[in-house]
Structures are given as structure tokens and as C-alpha cells.
């Protein structure tokens, strides 16, 4: 099966991390754990990963990072008071795609 997405870990430093012209060319999706999903086999995506000094991860490696963040977030939510739970929502699992 052809891979559609690729993943990397990079910390969003703010302005300039994703420029308007980069976002107009390719789709970005920020995930828990500073994991970013961008198109695979794409020159613009590869240039952006290089720009932000991203560490490329396989889908399975990225999934482990995301799962750890979401599980910790769910644990933190479960420990909230009923009152706090009433005004928030339990974080949901995220399944990454190839």
C-alpha cells in the first residue's frame, strides 16, 4: 500500500514555524507530543521537515508518542473532580494513518 502520510517530531516555536505559503501548498496536522503529519513523497513536505529540524518517525513510532500523550491526558482527566469533568471532555484516542 502506498504511503500517503509521513510523520516527524518538531517543536512549534511560533511565527515562521509554518509559513502561509507552506500551508497553502501542503496539509499539516499537529498531534500530541509535537508529532506532525505531512504528505509523504512530497518535496515541499520534505523541505519543511528539514527547515524545522524535524526528526522523522515511522507511523508506528509516531503512534507510540501520540498514545503516551493521550493516555497521560486521559489519566489526568480521570483524576478531575466531577465538577471539572462536567465542563470538559475526556481526551479521545487518536489512530494514525499510513
Amino acid at each position: 500500500m502506498t504511503k500517503i502520510n509521513q510523520y516527524c517530531v518538531a517543536e512549534n516555536w511560533g511565527k515562521g514555524f509554518i509559513e502561509h505559503n507552506e500551508s497553502a501548498k501542503i496539509s499539516f496536522s499537529g498531534l500530541p507530543g509535537n508529532v506532525w503529519r505531512v504528505p509523504a513523497h512530497n518535496k515541499d513536505a520534505n523541505l519543511w521537515i528539514s527547515k524545522v529540524l524535524g526528526t522523522v518517525k515511522t507511523k508506528d513510532e509516531a503512534q507510540v508518542i501520540v498514545d503516551a500523550e493521550v493516555t497521560a491526558s486521559q489519566t489526568a482527566w480521570d483524576a478531575l473532580s466531577d465538577e471539572e469533568k462536567a465542563i470538559s471532555s475526556r481526551p479521545v484516542d487518536i489512530t494514525l494513518e499510513d
Binding site: 512549534n12 511560533g14 511565527k15 502561509h20 499537529g30 497521560a72 465542563i87 471532555s89 481526551p91
Partner: protein, 331 residues
């Protein structure tokens, strides 16, 4: 060297405010003292300057992408309500005066970061707030709302506002209008909480989305100063998104929030006065963040809840599409 007159047949015009935008047009803005041009850009989100706080959610905001004020919220650390306010110029946040009431999930109205009204909210320990305060460089306490509430929708200016939302046990609570004091008016047609809104006057506003305990809705209603009228549905049911709060009721944007199941959603939608159109997705998750914007083609959102533990967002995302004014500088 090419001369503008030689290319276009006329000299660079001098305007005190920006003219109707035409692609490629160059003019001098005598107010901002900038040489400017119109550039058409593809609709897209980009990252921008981070908030001063390590993380901030359940935060309010209003204004435009280049003149936004965000305030109150739950700051991190130490996960307490805050009196902080900060202004945004399109790229950088600057801390402003402390507010009088510490709260989260408050609401604001205003079309710039120099004249803002803040109202309602959730206090700590938990209680609903009716407190109102105005901002013009410093915060001044104003008369309380008729009813304490939090997570309301809001629209209008810093001196004339409308607050809407709040539903409980089958009761849809009154809309309230402010012009120095609050007056109760007709409620929305659809009862809901955590709905959002935009509108640059107290007599012309739009509200969208929300939830009522049994489901998330996508309904949109228009306010004419007296009554609410259903005018369409969003493509994505959502609550707790961020809207272009400083835009006209006929031209705005909403993004992020939570969807039907309470999962964070990334989609954005723009409203043209009669229907919603899907736009590009946010770059990162944000629910209960603050939004601002002059229109559906220029907006910013900041802060919000993410799926990371103890890691509410301090990020800002700018949205731009269509005709944009660009200042020509020598650097």
C-alpha cells in the same frame, strides 16, 4: 528602473485609509505611512507568535487579526483563573493591564484591541459571574449583567454589546444587550451552551454551534437587535470553537472546537451571509481558545485545550485568504 506610472499609466495614489482592494494595486497609506499593495493569497493557516503564558485555555478574545485582545482564562501553571490580558498585532503578543475579575470562560466584544468589553465567566471556586468590565488601555468595572453565566457567545463593540446562549432544563435564557447597562431581550430559537458568535454591532450578530447536553448542534441564527432567526447550518456540528469575533455578521469564520462525539476537531468554515463553506483545517488542536478577525478571510485564534496532558496551548494560528494588504518595506 521601471516606473509605476509607466507600467500602469497612473501614479501611486495617496489614501488616508485603504481603498477597495484590487489585485496588484499599489498605494501609499498616509495614516500608517506605509507603501502598500494588494496580494491575493490561497486560504491557509500559519503559525504565529506564542502567547506569553506557558498554556492558556478557556480564554476569551475579540478584535481582528492585527488588533486582537485576549483575556481571562485558565493559565498554566498553575491551572488557575487569571486576570491577564494581552494584545496581538498579527505577529506578537504584548502583556496589558490586569483585569479586575479573575475568571475563565468569559466573553468579549470589540472590533479592535483598544476598546473591548469583557463579561460573564466562571469564577474559582466554581461560580457563575455576571461581572462586566471595559478596556481602553486599563480595565474599568461596569454594571453587572442581569444573569450570571459562563461560556456565552458575544458580539458588538467595546461600548455596545450583545451576549447570547445559556440553556438549562428546557429553559433558553434571555439574550442581553449592553449600552452602558444590560437589558434582557428575546432568547435564541435553539437552546444551547458553548455556542460562539461574531458581529461588529450589538444589533447585527450571528451565533453558531453549541451543545445542549444531549447533542452538538450546527444551527446558525442571526440577531437583528430584537429577534433571532435561523439562517442555516454549519457543515460541522461543533461547540467551543473560536470565531472571528470582530467581523461583521455577514462575513466571518469559525474554527476548531469539539465535534459530535467530544473529539477535538480541526476544521474551519467561513460564512458569507447566507451559507457556510469548509476551509482549510487548523494546524493544531484548539478548543476553548480565543478568536478574532475582521472577516472570513482574515482571522487569528490562540490558546485552547489540546489532547496533551497539562499542555494547554500557547500557540497562535493566523488565517488568511483572498485579497490581503501587504506593507512594502525595505527589508
Amino acid at each position: 528602473m521601471s516606473i509605476y506610472r509607466g507600467i500602469n499609466g497612473f501614479a501611486v495614489q495617496n489614501y488616508s485609509s485603504n481603498p477597495t482592494l484590487i489585485d496588484g494595486q499599489v498605494w501609499y497609506n498616509s495614516t500608517s505611512k506605509n507603501l502598500q499593495l494588494t496580494k491575493f493569497v490561497t486560504a491557509a493557516w500559519s503559525t504565529s507568535g506564542n502567547l506569553p503564558q506557558a498554556g492558556l485555555t478557556q480564554v476569551a478574545g475579540t478584535g481582528t487579526q492585527t488588533s486582537m485582545l485576549s483575556f481571562n482564562g485558565q493559565a498554566q501553571p498553575p491551572n488557575q483563573t487569571t486576570t491577564n490580558s494581552q494584545s496581538y498585532d498579527g505577529s506578537t503578543w504584548t502583556a496589558q493591564a490586569q483585569m479586575n475579575t479573575s475568571r475563565q470562560q468569559s466573553t468579549g466584544s470589540g472590533i479592535s484591541n483598544t476598546s473591548v468589553l469583557a463579561f460573564s465567566g466562571r469564577l474559582q471556586p466554581a461560580a457563575k459571574s455576571a461581572a462586566t468590565e471595559s478596556y481602553n488601555g486599563s480595565w474599568t468595572t461596569q454594571p453587572n449583567m442581569g444573569r450570571a453565566e459562563y461560556n456565552l457567545g458575544g458580539a458588538g463593540t467595546g461600548s455596545a454589546a450583545v451576549a447570547f446562549g445559556a440553556y438549562s432544563g428546557g429553559t433558553v435564557y434571555p439574550t442581553e444587550s449592553y449600552n452602558g447597562s444590560w437589558t434582557a431581550g428575546n432568547p435564541m430559537s435553539v437552546g444551547r451552551n458553548r455556542n460562539k458568535g461574531f458581529g461588529s454591532s450589538a444589533t447585527s450578530a450571528l451565533t453558531m454551534g453549541g451543545e445542549n447536553g444531549s447533542g452538538t448542534n450546527n444551527n446558525t441564527e442571526s440577531w437583528n437587535g430584537t429577534n433571532w432567526t435561523s439562517v442555516g447550518v454549519m457543515n460541522n456540528a461543533r461547540y467551543a470553537g473560536a470565531a472571528s469575533s470582530g467581523s461583521a455578521a455577514t462575513d466571518g469564520l469559525i474554527a476548531g472546537g469539539r465535534g459530535g462525539p467530544p473529539a477535538l476537531i480541526l476544521t474551519s468554515e467561513t460564512w458569507n451571509g447566507s451559507s457556510w463553506t469548509n476551509g482549510p483545517s487548523l494546524l493544531e488542536q484548539s478548543a476553548l481558545g480565543a478568536g478574532a478577525g475582521a472577516s472570513g478571510s482574515s482571522a487569528a485564534i490562540c490558546g485552547g485545550t489540546t489532547n496533551s496532558p497539562g499542555n494547554d496551548s500557547n500557540k497562535t494560528q493566523n488565517f488568511n485568504s483572498g485579497a490581503q494588504v501587504v506593507a512594502i518595506t525595505s527589508t
